[in-house]
């Protein structure tokens, strides 16, 4: 027993090629991400990067509940919109910093998620999706008529002369916005990573496999779903707050919209559901492609861009339904040689040297 423990300890001390690559790759990626706005000085590309990150956060939010978890939500626009409205209304009406607005948006979204969750988590997945879609339209109808939050006119936020982190506004400069959204992105992905490795993550995966079996083993399905729902709603709300502060204008028709929810779903599923990197990879491919297609041929007024876009989605749905990362999993054989090579230790661990 002692031996095996020692073996385990030694194993963890082994430095494999894979680890080295991961560390180098991680640093490389980090450096690339941080220096991105300085490599690409065009504000249009920065803008695309910012939007990509924003949708990636939203995609991750959806991924927590619907990728790892078992409820296929079609109404994440609810939380996105609540986040956007919370910070926008607080900022314009009371001058409260959007950072607090973000927290309050998370609280609001979480409570709404719990309220929505009680009746809907009981539903079967197909009905759950439809019910959340119904909630989206209900909220849209309510916000369209709610005077205090600007009804159908939406909320205009003042354009401030000075840039300040506190007010979440930066004149004429995308770099700060980029760093903020990158920070939020990293934070949210770290959170999701932690959750997926935690007991909760284990439970929800078990529930996805077989809810009844999980229940019979003593997993409180409802409670776990609610917790996951709260995490998911909060993340979507963060994306919403960022949207509001970046656009400086929120209106019910454009946030409480099934297109918003579908953007989340598309970016998460395109990358690969139930994976950490999936939503980001999906968003990196999906958002710029959509924008570029529109920029390229969208001005014709003949809807070519939409035709192409629909066509691309169908192609992906037919040929790549499991997402980009799913492809790697399906074709694991091709990479097995690489992964084996990766696992080989490059430095002799002290297990071998212990005799000395």
């Amino acid at each position: 027993m002692k031996d095996s423990e020692k073996q385990l300890m030694n194993d963890t001390k082994k430095i494999t090629r894979g680890m080295v690559f991961r560390v180098i790759g991680g640093f490389g990626l980090a450096i690339f991400l941080i220096s991105f706005p300085h490599i690409f000085t065009s504000n249009y590309i920065r803008n695309l990067a910012i939007l990509t990150c924003m949708w990636a956060i939203g995609g991750q939010a959806w991924n927590v509940l619907s990728g790892y978890g078992s409820r296929y939500s079609m109404g994440h626009a609810i939380f996105f919109g609540l986040g956007a409205y919370s910070s926008a209304v607080l900022f314009t009406k009371y001058g409260i910093s959007p950072w607090f607005g973000m927290v309050i948006g998370m609280l609001v979204s979480s409570s709404v998620s719990v309220i929505v969750g009680f009746p809907t988590f009981k539903l079967t997945p197909a009905y759950y999706g439809m019910a959340t879609l119904g909630f989206t339209f209900t909220l849209q109808a309510i916000f369209l008529n709610w005077r205090w939050v600007g009804d159908s006119r939406g909320v205009f936020m003042p354009l401030l002369r000075k840039s300040s982190i506190f007010d979440f506004q930066f004149a004429n400069n995308k770099t700060q916005y980029y760093y903020i959204v990158l920070f939020l992105l990293v934070l949210s992905y770290f959170l999701v990573y932690k959750v997926s490795k935690s007991k909760l993550g284990f439970y929800i995966r078990a529930m996805k496999e077989d809810e009844l079996a999980a229940q019979s083993l003593g997993v409180d399905v409802m409670k776990n779903l609610q917790i996951v729902g709260i995490i998911s709603a909060s993340l979507a709300s963060v994306a919403g707050t960022f949207y509001a502060q970046y656009m400086l204008y929120v209106d019910p028709m454009s946030v409480y919209n099934s297109i918003t929810s579908n953007n989340f779903i598309l970016s998460a599923t395109l990358g690969g559901i139930a994976t950490i990197a999936g939503p980001l990879i999906g968003a990196i491919i999906f958002i710029p492609t959509g924008e570029l297609i529109r920029g390229w041929i969208g001005g014709s007024g003949k809807a070519f861009d939409q035709m192409l876009w629909g066509f691309v989605i169908i192609l992906i749905a037919i040929y790549r339904p499991s997402g980009i990362l799913g492809w790697f999993k399906e074709h694991a054989k091709i990479f097995s040689g690489i992964s084996k090579w990766m696992k080989e230790p490059i430095v002799r661990s002290n297990h071998d040297n212990s005799g000395m």
Binding site: T289, G295, G299, S300, G301
Partner: protein
């Protein structure tokens, strides 16, 4: 397995071709960016504006001495820049503020446009003009009429078009005049019917504020969601209140639905007023036919008494765009382009700051533009103070009779007939 590479290759091809195509930028033109809803629900309107843009390019870039004294028709290109030609670059907002912002960003940074024109939807104009302001590039608003836009204190925002406050006042002035003249009926009550978005709500609020000033009582206001499939309940409410004047702010599709339902319910108010130019819309006229006659509306475009008007609208325009009919949308975009080119011409460069300076000093005479405005001059908020609406009634066979202002009046108001009197 091979199959799975097809979409990957396709995507790669698409992406690379996009990358290459966006690089090819010509430097020998002055680029002007426009943002309109060119696809999606409101694509029809975007289409009309696009036609206007193409016509504006024709006016500026080529010599058309027969169109004088229309500004820049006689010359080719921008005179002060040695006849440099303009090129209009299109952005598709799909009527959403986010897309609008994105497209503005793209036009400014990728295409390098010297100014933006747009954007039909007030919400899109909001976000697109914020982008323009950030880059210090003039934004010329040719169509969105929400008063909020000019109240933000943007130095780079210029609205050639009027705003709703002006338009609604104009309409009520005309309504009062006609109501006084028509002694056969009594006009006391007004009912406001508006679609529930930025524009509709703004118009409704102003109308409620303005109506008492002109001696009308607002009995009720109905705002309805604009993507509705049936308007029976709205119509029932109108019938129940039976107002003397119905004041409606709707998008085309809804306006047609309302008119049909009113007909089915055999209901007519004593005066039917649209807050904008619904009967000028091609689809509206085609669809409703005689049912759309006798309504009163405002427009900023009417065929004015100038030599070039018929040549452009009837000869040139209907030849190139048989599907469309020249209306205020083309008129306002052409005027906006002229205003911008005039500023570039006076500034002698496309430097944004000089351009802004030149724009604030704009003074274009009424006879140099196709719109029947008294001219173009901006106040300190960027609003064109010489903009005004023309109140028109659509009479038999969509013969448009100007009722107001007095100097353009060319016919008399016909009281709105009941359905069985037609």
């Amino acid at each position: 397995m091979k199959k799975s590479f097809i979409p990957v290759i396709l995507l790669a091809v698409i992406l690379t071709s996009i990358c290459f195509s966006s690089v090819s930028a010509a430097d020998d033109t002055v680029k002007i960016g426009v943002v309109y809803p060119l696809s999606g629900n409101q694509a029809l309107t975007g289409f009309e504006y696009r036609a206007g843009c193409e016509l504006a390019e024709e006016i500026i870039n080529n010599e058309h001495p027969e169109w004088a004294p229309l500004k820049f028709a006689e010359t080719a290109g921008i005179p002060a820049l040695d006849g440099k030609k303009i090129e209009i670059v299109y952005g598709d907002s799909q009527a959403t503020p986010e897309r609008g912002q994105n497209e503005a960003e793209r036009l400014i940074t990728q295409e390098g446009v010297v100014a933006l024109i747009g954007a039909f939807n007030s919400s899109v104009s909001t976000t697109a003009s914020q982008v323009a302001k950030r880059y210090g590039i003039p934004f010329i608003c040719d169509s969105a009429s929400s008063p909020t836009l000019t109240s933000r204190g943007f130095q780079y925002f210029f609205r050639v078009f009027g705003n709703d406050a002006i338009f609604v006042e104009n309409l009520f002035t005309a309504m009062r005049e006609e109501a006084d003249k028509d002694t056969s009926r009594e006009y006391k009550t007004v009912m406001v019917l508006n679609e529930n978005s930025l524009w509709g709500s703004d118009v409704a609020d102003i109308a409620k504020l303005v109506a008492p000033k002109y001696g009308f009582e607002v009995v009720d206001q109905i705002s309805y969601p604009s993507t509705t499939t049936q308007v029976n309940s709205e119509v029932q409410r109108v019938v129940a209140k039976d107002p003397d004047i119905l004041f409606q702010a709707s998008y085309v599709a809804d306006a047609m639905l309302f008119m049909r339902t009113f007909k089915e319910q055999k209901y007519t108010p004593k005066m039917y007023v649209y807050a904008d130019g619904k009967p000028l819309n091609f689809s509206y006229r085609e669809t409703l036919g005689p049912d759309g006659w006798w309504t009163v509306f405002r427009t900023v475009y009417t065929k004015k008494d100038a030599p070039f008007v018929n040549l452009i609208t009837d000869d040139y325009f209907s030849e190139h765009y048989p599907d469309l009919k020249f209306n205020e949308n083309q008129g306002s975009v052409i005027t906006s382009v002229q205003v911008l080119v005039d500023a570039i011409n006076r500034a002698g460069s496309t430097d944004p700051e000089k351009l802004r300076e030149a724009l604030t000093q704009t003074d274009i005479k009424g006879e140099e533009i196709i719109l029947p405005f008294a001219g173009v001059q901006f106040d300190e908020t960027g609003q064109n103070i010489l903009a005004r609406a023309i109140v028109v009634q659509a009479q038999e066979d969509f013969k448009f009779v100007n009722l107001w202002p007095a100097e353009m009046k060319n016919g008399d108001y016909v009281p709105y007939p009941a359905w069985d009197e037609r």
